[in-house]
Amino acid sequence: MSGEMMAVDYYIPLIMFLIVGALVPIGALAAVKIISPQKSTLQKRSTYEGGLRPIREAIIQYNVQYYLFAIAFVIFDVEVLFLYPWIYVYASDAIPAVGGVSIAITGMLIFIVVLLIGLLYDIKKEALRWV
């Protein structure tokens, strides 16, 4: 029954942080509800747009060109994710060196170069041009 520290145990306090973090604003809002005046009028609650009545809705369709940014982001984010586990192995003996050349390092350098080429291709194709 002796409890050795497992990786998960480090995360338990964080739940408390999340709860306290949520309680701070909720407490503040509750306090405001008690102290502050509440005389809401229709005018007071109107949308601010330079002092005039807005023309049409704010929620519109944006240009689809922007979607390329999001896709590129997902791709690169996932590929960066592959790099994290590698930190632990690149200098260890987990992946042996062949002929004095570390496979882990060479492999990852190749990976970076491939990423770079992909990025340059993206830029050249003007996929990342802000319209």
Binding site: Q61, D77, L81, P85
Partner: protein, 99 residues
């Protein structure tokens, strides 16, 4: 055989409680995602359920996967979904929300 004594182990109870809580959150948010009338609300519920899945991974001692879930699913895929919502036609959204 099930060792009944472990039901009295407080650690087990905590784990069980955490798991059931997370399960309820995941299921609840997933159902809300599907049935929500507003597409942005759906997206946000989905993000919440991703977060709960991340917590589930962590509680299963797969911490790296859990954090990766946060980074990729909430940070990247979630943003992709929100972006996609902003790029949809408003009339489409209205159909969704009224239909």
């Amino acid at each position: 055989m099930i060792d009944l004594t472990q039901f009295y182990d407080i650690r087990f109870l905590i784990e069980l409680g955490a798991f059931s809580l997370l399960a309820v959150i995941i299921l609840g948010l997933s159902i809300l995602t599907v049935y929500s009338r507003n597409i942005v609300h759906s997206g946000l519920y989905l993000l919440g359920s991703f977060a709960a899945v991340a917590a589930l991974y962590i509680s299963l001692n797969a911490t790296f996967v859990g954090v990766a879930q946060v980074l990729v699913y909430i940070g990247a895929v979630g943003v992709l979904i929100l972006f996609a919502i902003m790029l949809t036609r408003k009339t489409l959204m209205e159909e969704e929300s009224h239909g």
